[in-house]
């Protein structure tokens, strides 16, 4: 599929060019690429917020083309939950419970049931039940973001699309947030699509990686395949996860790693025999 911004006007600009890929059910897919590479444009096609100018996007069994009518897109929007950057900016209700219940109520769930669901969602994102009756605006930034995510989860999506979900959080908050998504992926079987600049998160969590550059899909594969070629990544203004970067420095000093370690534990496991093993004193 391709997408042109403001097609048919003098301001027309290429957003995406001839992209072909499949995101598998139950996968954890990361989309990487430097600022302006088309990551967010691609993301907005995943629940038909944008429609391709040419080609097709198939979501479940629904085919979206340029001709697709804006009516009847609700089931797709419900199926594919979208967590935008700085999701906490979209909170507006008086209480956390009402904010989370807003989406389901819009989709016809009775208010009482929706608020009951809200309690379950709050637990799912790791917040204490006390927050339900609090104003979302009295919570910390990280907690507010969790409430916004709970609001998306309340729609019971099967796919969760995350656009830089940890931007602006402190390191502990980032780690908690990423662990939470991984838990949702493992326990609820959610398909996850993550747009991120954090290569460590790609290495730690994704099983499939799409690399975007200037609106094109320039490479896809497992994290290990993608991070194998540091020079190619640098050409596309992308870096390595910290572990892979360290392994690269060590390789230059005569160490050998096979396969390429992606986590600190994998690197330590492969390093140990090369530095004389455990100490014997």
């Amino acid at each position: 599929m391709s997408f042109t911004y403001q097609a048919g006007t003098p301001f027309a600009g290429d957003g995406l060019k001839d992209v072909t890929t499949t995101i598998k059910d139950g996968s954890y897919t990361a989309i990487i690429g430097h600022t302006g590479s088309g990551k967010s444009t691609l993301l907005q096609h995943l629940n038909a917020l944008l429609k391709p100018t040419a080609g097709t996007v198939t979501i479940g069994d629904r085919v979206i083309t340029n001709e697709t009518n804006n009516k009847n897109l609700k089931p797709i929007r419900r199926e594919v939950g979208m967590v935008f950057q700085f999701a906490e900016n979209q909170l507006f209700e008086q209480t956390v419970a009402k904010d989370i219940a807003f989406g389901p109520t819009n989709f016809g769930v009775p208010a009482e049931e929706a608020e009951k669901q809200a309690a379950a969602m709050v637990a799912l994102v790791g917040l204490p039940p006390e927050v339900l009756e609090q104003s979302p605006f009295d919570l910390s930034g990280g907690q507010m973001r969790r409430v916004a995510i709970a609001g998306v989860l309340a729609m019971k999506p099967s796919v969760l699309v995350l656009d830089e979900p940890t931007a602006g959080l402190d390191p502990a908050g980032r780690a908690e947030m990423m662990t939470m998504f991984n838990r949702l992926h493992q326990e609820q079987g959610l398909t996850i699509v993550l747009v991120t600049h954090q290569m460590d998160d790609v290495a730690d969590y994704a099983d499939h990686v799409l690399v975007m550059d200037q609106g094109r899909l320039v490479k896809e594969g497992t994290p290990r395949e993608i991070f194998q070629d540091a020079d190619w990544l640098a050409d596309h203004q992308l870096g390595l996860p910290k572990t892979a970067a360290m392994a690269r420095r060590l390789t230059a000093q005569g160490f050998r790693f096979d396969p390429l370690p992606l986590t600190t534990a994998q690197l330590a496991d492969q390093l140990l025999p090369q530095i004389g093993g455990p100490a014997h004193d």
């Binding site: 430097h34 390191p171 502990a172 090369q274 530095i275």
Partner: protein
């Protein structure tokens, strides 16, 4: 060395808050020094910054900036000495073009036009954004936006620049752009830098790191000394530097690792020594 900022027994409490946001904080920052202030969210870092330029008024204690006690009579003079760069680059633009935006603060201070033109030009040269002078700020990348925000501040020739998580919303390339710029500014114009940060690389660039917890200074020292806290750093609001993480993982596997802080290069050398004597 003269002090750029002197804080003595500072206490601050937000209206209706049960606990003080800052409790008995004393800190002296020398002219030309780069101090990183770290701590987890809610530890009082930003409150401290706002007390330095009088955006907040302390409950008790004294703040002296560039030799002037912070009070109602001096606050405007002090704000001329202290520039703050905030977290979100999109929240601090007022001008329609990059150069208008850099000129905004000077216009407010009624700087004569010929001088304003030179200062805007010089500031844009310093942040390496001159070729973008007539562009719309909204169309720049995050790193470029923060560089323009910094140009707006250095055009006013402050003595002190405060970075309030100024790199936290940038991608890795934007982050290193801004960090390199700050290093240059400090080296070239002896600017005093106070950076509030969660970023390990930013903290590592500082001369001194001050750790805040629940509104109190709990520790201060060189970055290397603080980094020896290893995995504990996460609860202090910083990421654990990668060499410390790898050392911990190797130690758990029974390898002998040195206690002191090693940067990447140091650790690679150490491991290489073990490898070559096998």
């Amino acid at each position: 060395m003269t002090a750029a900022i002197e804080i003595e027994n500072l206490n601050y409490r937000y209206p209706d808050a049960k606990r003080p946001a800052l409790h008995d904080v004393s800190l002296t920052i020398a002219q030309g020094e780069w101090v990183a202030i770290i701590g987890h969210n809610g530890s009082g870092k930003s409150t401290l910054a706002k007390n330095i330029n009088g955006l907040l008024a302390p409950e008790s204690g004294r703040v002296t900036v560039a030799g002037m006690p912070l009070n109602e009579a001096n606050v405007w003079k002090i704000r001329e000495k202290v520039g703050i760069v905030f977290q979100n680059p999109d929240n601090q633009f007022v001008g329609a073009t990059v150069q208008d935006d850099v000129a905004f603060g000077l216009e407010n201070r009624a700087v004569p036009r010929p001088e304003m033109l030179t200062r805007v030009h010089d500031a844009l040269v310093q942040v390496n954004m001159l070729e973008f002078a007539t562009r719309e700020p909204a169309r720049l990348s995050g790193g470029q936006k923060q560089r323009v925000a910094i140009a707006g501040i250095i055009a006013q020739r402050p003595d002190i620049i405060i970075l309030d998580e100024a790199t936290s919303m940038l991608d890795p390339a934007g982050r290193s752009e801004v960090l390199a710029l700050i290093e240059q500014l400090q080296a070239r114009s002896a600017m005093t830098v106070v950076s509030i940060t969660h970023d390990v690389d930013e903290a590592a660039s500082a001369d001194r790191v001050v750790l805040l917890n629940d509104g109190e200074i709990v520790e201060q020292g060189t970055p290397a000394a603080l980094f020896t806290h290893g995995e504990e750093l996460l609860s202090l609001g910083l990421d654990v530097p990668y060499p410390e993480r790898l050392k911990a993982a190797l130690r758990r596997r029974g390898a002998k690792m040195p206690d002191g802080y090693l940067d990447q290069e140091g650790l690679v050398k150490y491991l290489w020594t073990l490898h070559s004597t096998m």
